[in-house]
């Protein structure tokens, strides 16, 4: 019988590894995708990975400051998505395309 404690006893480590996995998936999206909007979505994934870490630590250490930070991160992420999408709209008007291949010559 193999040791199944890793499967049955969910602790802080599980949440940390899950958030690391989500963060790395988001980073892969930022590096590998060429569509500007999908890159913004991958940034949201990375922020969510960090949020899981904050909430896990806050819950396991019994301190509320982590949840305050998550609250701030959520707001900043919403603001960042709004500005990023407005930039994408402005760029799409000019180039008729949101592939970042076309943004190499942004300097007028």
């Amino acid at each position: 019988m193999p040791n199944l404690d890793f499967l049955t006893e969910v602790g802080l480590t599980h949440y940390l590894i899950l958030s690391a996995v989500i963060f790395c998936i988001g980073m892969a999206g930022v590096l590998l995708r060429r569509n500007a909007i999908v890159i913004l979505m991958s940034i949201e994934l990375m922020l969510n990975g960090v949020n899981i870490t904050f909430v896990a630590f806050s819950s396991y250490l019994g301190k509320m400051e982590g949840q305050i930070m998550v609250f701030f991160v959520l707001t900043i992420a919403a603001a960042e998505a709004a500005v990023g999408l407005a930039l994408a709209v402005a760029i799409f008007k000019r180039f008729k395309e949101v592939n970042i291949r076309f943004f190499e010559n942004l300097k007028g």
């Binding site: 802080l12 590998l32 999908v38 396991y60």
Partner: protein, 178 residues
């Protein structure tokens, strides 16, 4: 196997698989929809960590507001399948994948090395009165100790709301023809 563990594994599988879908699917609309599924999964994970207020805020802000924004912009662009969804060049792609793997290995190694340190403190948690009361504590902290940050966030949201409208109405900025 306790219900907590089963719930965690189901949520973790759902979150990770939908996050992978965001990165791997070429149609941006499906990316946005699976991002919504990821947000719902993360919000459910917050519930398992007794952060009920944040779970609600996550659902409202992300699954409600940000995702609608993404889908609206995608509908505006009318993008079908991307011709070149992924990065070009096998060499640079392999380099990027290698750097991601390196980061993942570093993080996993750091977490596993710190296993003994982290788990010693975890018994302090889940006294039921503390668990049910997190929303009240959060409110007290926000409106006493972190009041300045909270107000600054309000100002930031105001500036961003105006700036986003101004940006999307601009006629191409430095690229303007006339």
């Amino acid at each position: 196997m306790s219900t907590d563990a089963i719930l965690f594994w189901i949520l973790a599988f759902m979150t990770v698989s939908s996050a992978l879908t965001v990165v791997l699917i070429t149609n941006p609309i499906y990316c946005a929809l699976s991002l919504a599924l990821t947000m719902v999964g993360v919000s459910a994970l917050f519930v398992t960590l007794n952060a009920y207020f944040l779970a609600g805020v996550q659902m409202i802000v992300y699954a409600g507001a940000v995702l609608v924004l993404f889908v609206m912009v995608l509908m505006l662009f009318d993008l079908k399948h991307e011709l070149q969804a992924f990065t070009r060049g096998k060499m640079t792609g392999a380099l990027k994948l290698a750097s991601i793997g390196l980061l993942a290995g570093l993080i996993a190694g750091a977490i596993l090395m710190s296993n003994g340190i982290l788990l010693t403190k975890s018994e302090a948690f889940t006294s039921p009165d503390m668990a049910s009361d997190t929303t009240k504590q959060l409110g007290h902290l926000i409106f006493s100790q972190y009041l300045f940050g909270f107000e600054a966030l309000g100002v930031l949201l105001m500036v961003v709301a105006v700036g986003a409208v101004a940006l999307s109405r601009s006629k191409g900025g430095t690229h303007a023809k006339s």
